[in-house]
């Protein structure tokens, strides 16, 4: 799939005539366009629905929307929603396959898969690596999906962040918790930064972005604490100067742009496999 995206003719018409609906209850540029491009490269008809233009604003419930869309017989539904469990709820009520493109602070599975692909291409394997996930763990679905993925593939997972941004009992997910970058970064092969999700912060979690950057921002000095060949990742969109310095984001160790590239390939693979599996069972 990665090769397909590098060709000048990027069509891989394995799913012609199938309909993909992108249902985004939260603003997203990169994920929705990534799914859209992936769908189009597979030859699907892609419809994008965002909150601003849909009837959701008129008070229609998630399940009513689901029933309406379902009646149009899509083959794949991609949904992002601000509530944990929303994708699972949708999947119970529609006949087509549902891909979770992020549900609240729960999971973002395709992000973890694209991160895995990126790490594997850079490091050869994931087993045995030490990965630090840094910053706003509490509000991050990316963190949760990555913790599950990395543990399943045999990596050592650390989380680094202030206690107010690390949810209770996070250790039980199989991670080691560090309260400072200085303690958590040494020995890491991968440094995964997370976006500080100010829009989800219902209360005061940290005093200020400035203070957060001072103690938890990834700058040149802190990058050097990790292994020399460590890679730096970020699911985007970045808050430059809040969780990551521009020099690092654009530096040689950064694989942030490659993550986006892998995103399209991974989503193509997910959709193709899902469609094939479903068609195999229904025939």
């Amino acid at each position: 799939m990665v090769e397909v995206s590098k060709r000048s003719d990027k069509h891989r018409n394995t799913l012609p005539g199938r309909t993909l609906i992108n249902l985004f209850y939260e603003n997203s540029t990169r994920t929705s366009s990534s799914f859209e491009i992936a769908g189009k490269r597979l030859g699907m008809d892609v419809v994008n629905m965002t909150v601003a233009t849909s009837s959701v604003k008129k008070g229609e419930t998630l399940l009513d929307t689901a029933a309406t869309l379902n009646a149009m017989n899509p083959d794949l539904l991609v949904m992002r929603h601000n509530a944990a469990g929303a994708a699972a709820l949708l999947a119970q009520k529609v006949g087509c396959a549902v891909i979770n493109a992020g549900d609240g602070a729960h999971e973002h599975p395709t992000q973890a898969l694209l991160d895995a692909l990126t790490i594997r291409r850079k490091k050869g394997a994931i087993h045995g690596l030490t990965v630090a996930i840094c910053g706003d763990i509490a509000h991050s679905r990316v963190a949760r999906s990555n913790i599950h993925m990395l543990n399943a593939l045999g990596a050592q997972v650390r989380v680094i962040g202030p206690s107010t941004l690390c949810p209770s009992s996070i250790e039980e997910l199989g991670v080691t918790v560090f309260r400072s970058m200085e303690k958590g970064l040494p020995g890491c092969d991968v440094v995964m930064m997370l976006r500080l999700q100010t829009e989800r912060m219902a209360g005061a979690f940290i005093p200020s972005a400035r203070e957060f950057y001072r103690y938890y921002g990834l700058n040149e000095k802190r990058v050097k604490l990790a292994k020399k060949d460590a890679i730096v990742m970020h699911p985007g969109p970045m808050n430059r100067g809040v969780e990551i310095a521009s020099t690092i984001a654009d530096g040689v160790q950064s694989v942030i742009v490659e993550q986006v590239e892998m995103g399209v390939a991974v989503r193509m693979a997910v959709m193709e496999m899902l469609a094939e599996a479903r068609e195999a069972t229904t025939v």
């Binding site: 944990a84 609240g104 209770s168």
Partner: protein
């Protein structure tokens, strides 16, 4: 109302269980003019010559009708969820003959006329007795006291802000002080509105599911505060629905110190834990939330030891519209009247708590706390009772619930122990089919 048989009715061949006297005997109960006229091993049957008026209980348990101290009903304002009539019918199917209606309605029951409305509607439409509780603060706003004296005279059995916790300690102190003067019972809920703003028990499960947690402290802190205020004011206080092991300890300490406090627990917190939520099942989104397995066991032990006094259904009907939503957005609450006895009997079957103790928590204890004469099988007492088979297996079918709402966490649950008949003032108001 049907005409009463001249000689009353004779319930024979029953295992009579009365938590007040501890009586547990096989015998008969004679009912006359809505009251229990005689209890005995073999009461004379001469007056019932043709067998008319004799009810054969076939060895089933005859116990006081259940007294449920925490029931939310949608009337007025939320009749699409539940009316006084449908709640009454649901109660009969659960063996509940008296229930306390919480004032969380729209408008809130904070005025004499509304208490009278509940009384009048219940008398006309409900087959079981409904005792209105009035709000402790006006509009349940947590700032101004209601007319507690007038409300009490109008028939409010207790004062409570229902689902809400009064966060203003000064207001709570004054309300408790005033209630002590007029010897009124205050029933409080414990969930700090800020600390308890999450949607399920805080911990590894909430973290894994990406849901905001309700820490145990959100319950313990207001409970501890109230225990201090009770010590300060001498109020008569009931903690409606506790859910954590520490809460049981806090309450037990206050009892040891001689305070006039009692505690209740919702049957869901005795039977279920947060594990049961599974894949974001909103019917398990309750308040207080389902806690850990250890907490469930602590609540059961609280019932066994007497640290907790009563079991309530915490019946809270919710419409499909407020439940078929993503977990975080769904409303709290579950219906529970119809499954109250069967669910509570799990304590007898699975946690080896004596049947008499389970019954006491469902009947006598709430009756005593509310200052009512019900909840007893005694000569002269009102003939409110439930006849049930403590061992009969059955499966709950949510489509057959009599409640107007079907948000039960016991959908398709297997139970042991089933209500056969419910009798209110000597009249059978419910009879199990088959």
């Amino acid at each position: 109302m049907k005409p009463k048989p001249p000689h009353g009715r004779l319930f024979v061949n029953a295992r009579i269980m009365d938590p007040e006297t501890g009586r547990d005997l096989h015998g008969d109960v004679l009912v006359k003019k809505g009251k229990i006229a005689a209890i005995g091993k073999a009461l004379p049957r001469e007056k019932f010559k043709d067998g008319k008026g004799i009810v054969d209980c076939k060895g089933a348990v005859l116990a006081p009708g259940l007294v449920d101290a925490r029931v939310f009903i949608g009337e007025p304002g939320g009749e699409h969820r539940e009316t006084i009539k449908t709640a009454g019918r649901a109660a009969t199917a659960g063996g509940v003959t008296t229930m306390v209606m919480m004032p969380d309605t729209d408008p809130v029951i904070d005025d004499v006329s509304l208490v009278e409305f509940v009384h009048a509607t219940a008398a006309a439409k409900s087959p079981v007795r409904i005792l209105p509780a009035a709000a402790l603060s006006k509009g349940q706003g947590g700032e101004l006291m209601t007319e507690m004296g007038l409300l009490k005279d109008a028939g409010a059995v207790a004062f409570t802000d229902g689902r809400k916790t009064i966060s203003n300690a000064q207001m709570m102190r004054r309300a408790l002080t005033y209630s002590a003067d007029i010897d009124a019972l205050v029933m409080a809920s414990h969930r700090d509105p800020h600390l308890g703003a999450g949607v399920m028990n805080a911990g590894a499960n909430a973290t894994r599911m990406g849901l905001a947690g309700i820490p145990r402290e959100a319950e313990i802190i207001p409970l501890e505060r109230d225990m201090r205020l009770v010590a300060m004011t001498g109020a008569k206080y009931h903690a409606s629905c506790l859910s954590t092991s520490e809460s049981v300890e806090v309450l037990a300490r206050a009892k040891d110190a001689g305070r006039d406090v009692t505690g209740g627990v919702a049957v869901a917190n005795l039977c279920l834990s947060e594990i049961d939520i599974g894949p974001y099942r909103t019917f398990f989104k309750l308040s207080p939330p389902l806690r850990s397995v250890d907490d469930r066991e602590a609540m059961v032990e609280g019932i066994r030891s007497g640290a907790l006094d009563m079991i309530v259904s915490n019946h809270d009907p919710q419409d499909v519209d407020t439940k078929r939503l993503p977990f975080a957005e769904a409303a709290d609450g579950a219906v529970g009247l119809e499954s109250l006895l069967a669910a509570a009997l799990r304590l007898y079957h699975s946690d080896s708590i004596a049947l008499m103790r389970v019954l006491e928590c469902l009947t006598l204890a709430p009756a005593k706390r509310l200052g009512r004469k019900c909840g007893r099988i005694a000569e002269g007492a009102r003939a409110d009772f439930v006849i049930f088979d403590p061992d009969a297996p059955w499966q709950l079918d949510d489509t057959k619930l009599r409640s107007r709402s079907r948000n039960t966490p016991f959908q398709d649950a297997l139970f042991q122990g089933r209500v056969l008949k419910t009798v209110v003032a000597g009249r059978t108001v419910f009879k199990q089919d088959g």
